[in-house]
Symmetry: C2
Subunit: 464 residues, 2 copies
């Protein structure tokens, strides 16, 4: 069924107050259902959710974006909202409550009797920490339990747990001492105690670990879930791989946005943000660029005497600036991404930097030679056939090719060096290098690029 | 054990030709082992791998980066290499063979008797398609099998299969007709035939689907694995979530690199590429930028008469260019990322574009007013206290504030519009919008920005 048709059908059901939504849940994944709901008006959403059971509603809400979840909860009565929250996984319920106004979250929490304490605990952890993304719905067994008993218990617990693919083994004080994959369990002979087949050398994460680190770990070791422990090694919760997929996407987006000074705020993505919200986030970076640009302009201001003599020098300002900018963008992008994915490790970064210098020198040479030739050829051509000069009053000296060529060579080389060095130093200083590639790099490469260009031009002035 | 210590211990073992590496495999994840191996010299690698069994070697190689895998295989004899390949998962073996020179791959394939046909089949699919990332080591059962029999069979098959968490149900012609998660299976009552409890409404992907699409699907539906089928709906293989984590990272990297004209080539990442390789990839984009920059310079060339009269106008060229550039970078980045994550769907893009115009107008107004005030204030100050003028020969007219302010307003607004419109049109035309944000946007915003700036300045010339 197409989205359009499904939407139409849902609208009809709302009109007819049809409570038989079972065929929908048979044929439509809650995630698809959620997407359709997001396109409905507030009134339609409210009516539709009146038709759903609490459990069905919880399944759909879990699949919605943070922002849309909040909107929807606001449409429902407190009683209904708490009934739906009760049916949600504890981690999803905690995330949603975390997005709501504090008063409302508190009120809803008092109405959720079951799991309320667990949710309250989850709310304590920062949203982007292991604690903030873990769920408390895991399965743990004592070490002396036997394989067949464990499988039997698993079969009972399966409907409630977040994952049954890992079973954790704990001692009498709930300290994590081992893990069994469901695979190990079903491959083991009956009668074996869990302590005999469990893996003791297991990977767990502390509750305050950053979610990006957790994602790297899960990806590196190909885990389906990772246990979260406190400083006593007590098992607090687990993080499953489906949440890690979301973290990876979220973190990549954050890195990309940071590089253009457009950070996401809590809860509201840049794509769905209001105009006012967007301006608040993007403007600071632009204002810094503005003063950086004025600083670069100051360099030109220092050379007005040169410029007055040979005004055509201004013609090459854009190409010098653009080339420096684009080389720096390439260099900083590759370095920043390399650090984010772990391909460039801290101790390798200087080696990487020196390779980048060689790349910069080579590309600088090629670009410098190219533009030098283009300018010199154009100058000779214009002297031979002045009628072709679309820009009147311009007399290009072929020597200008040398000036622009040398300036281009140094600008491109410096662009590569600055574009790598600035994020590298940020990284060494423990600051996210994604912040480095913005106005700071732009200003440095503009100031140095223009300074070099006009200095060389001043040297050549007697011959131009 | 720290990486340093482990490395040292391995070096000792190599020296002592110690074949007892078991304690290492007990305490060290193959992925950690692989990382250490990557730091060894060729000679050390060869010696170490002589100490490993084929199975151990396969586990370590599977965790290495493509590039390092190829280097390592070249160090081993053909016989040893084929023995190790035989122990690898079919998808990993096919990936590795795909990276090798064709002759060598063929030779190795003839030596791998078992699974060779499966690997040969896998090699036919493009590397970034569902077929290219799937494995053939899945478990499928006939529909009339009963739950307890399926669990018993699973326990036998578990050690070989890539995942045991989904069991696929096929008819007599190997057509996929249903799926059971291991969870469904262990939660079901004994004696039930699989056809009674399997989910018929399952998500599968065609063998030629792009890996990015597969990743979106897996992420959206929180799957641990997805089956791959041909046009007859025959089950060909499965893709597991751990491979999807890699795809997500790879695709995010590709998007990021494309935006600065630095695409990855097959097999070799930008971080590990040679200088020559890097130049080949990055230079074309720079040469286009170079001619774009000259075009923008041509605009200044057209206004040399204006510039000769008021040479100080050149001082504001950098700030106009930088601001247009950075606003366009913000706009295109948010749009391109929104499309990549699916947050901006095709039918929503015009609405998004119109919001961006409002953002551009507002930010343009603020930036225009800011720079206008700064320039006017500076002009007044310099007229009152000429001694402070660090740039001699400069006489700033306060009216210049109005010229620069209006130019800034239009440049910022246009930057937002161009930065969104160009990738939007690319997207509508079916081209990856990540390609759009480079030289094309730079050139368009430079040409329009400078044209507007000098046109306004020319209008005001009598009063400046």
């Amino acid at each position: 069924m197409t989205v359009q048709k499904t939407l139409q059908r849902i609208l009809e059901m709302i009109k007819e107050r049809d409570t038989n939504l079972d065929d929908f849940f048979q044929n439509l994944h809650p995630s698809d259902f959620a997407e359709i709901v997001e396109d409905l008006t507030g009134e339609q959403k409210r009516e539709l959710f009146e038709l759903l059971s609490d459990e069905e509603a919880a399944m759909v809400i879990q699949e919605m974006e943070d922002f849309d979840q909040v909107v929807l909860i606001q449409l429902l009565t407190t009683k209904r909202a708490s009934a739906i929250l009760r049916e949600m996984a504890t981690d999803d319920a905690a995330d949603l409550l975390g997005e709501l106004p504090e008063e409302q979250a508190k009120e809803l929490l008092t109405l959720i009797d079951e799991d309320a304490d667990e949710i309250r605990d989850l709310l304590k952890y920062p949203e982007d920490s292991a604690g903030g993304i873990m769920t408390t719905e895991f399965i743990s067994f004592p070490e002396n339990m036997r394989v067949e008993e464990a499988i039997r218990r698993l079969r009972e617990l399966a409907p409630e747990a977040e994952t049954v693919y890992y079973v954790y083994v704990v001692d009498d004080e709930t300290r994590l001492i081992g893990v069994l994959s469901l695979r190990d369990l079903i491959a083991a002979a009956d009668g074996t105690p869990l302590s005999n087949i469990m893996r003791k050398n297991l990977i767990s994460v502390p509750v305050d670990m950053d979610q990006e680190e957790v994602a790297k770990l899960v990806s590196r070791y190909d885990l389906l879930a990772v246990p979260v422990v406190d400083e006593r090694n007590s098992l607090l919760g687990i993080i499953t791989v489906d949440d890690i997929l979301d973290v990876l996407e979220e973190e990549a987006t954050e890195d990309i946005y940071r590089r253009v000074g457009a950070s996401e705020m809590e809860g509201v993505g840049l794509v769905e943000a209001s105009v006012r919200n967007l301006i608040t986030r993007r403007l600071p970076w632009l204002i810094i660029t503005l003063f950086g640009g004025l600083l670069a302009g100051g360099v030109i201001g220092g050379f007005t005497a040169t410029l007055e003599k040979i005004v055509v020098l201004a013609v090459f300002i854009p190409v010098i600036m653009d080339m420096g900018g684009n080389v720096a963008a390439q260099s900083s992008t590759v370095f920043v991404r390399g650090v984010a994915t772990g391909e460039i490790e801290s101790e390798e970064s200087w080696g990487y930097f020196f390779r980048e210098i060689r790349v910069g020198l080579s590309m600088g040479f090629i670009c410098g030679a190219t533009i030098g030739l283009v300018v010199a050829t154009a100058a000779v051509f214009l002297r031979l056939f002045p009628a072709f000069g679309f820009m009147q009053d311009i007399d290009l000296s072929p020597l200008l090719g040398i000036v622009v060529g040398i300036a281009m060579f140094t600008t491109v080389t410096l662009g590569a060096i600055i574009g790598t060095l600035v994020p590298l130093l940020f990284n060494k200083a423990g600051i996210d290098p994604a912040f480095a590639s913005g106005p700071l790099v732009t200003t440095i490469k503009d100031v140095t690029g223009l300074l070099i260009y006009f200095s060389i031009a001043s040297l050549f002035i007697p011959y131009l």
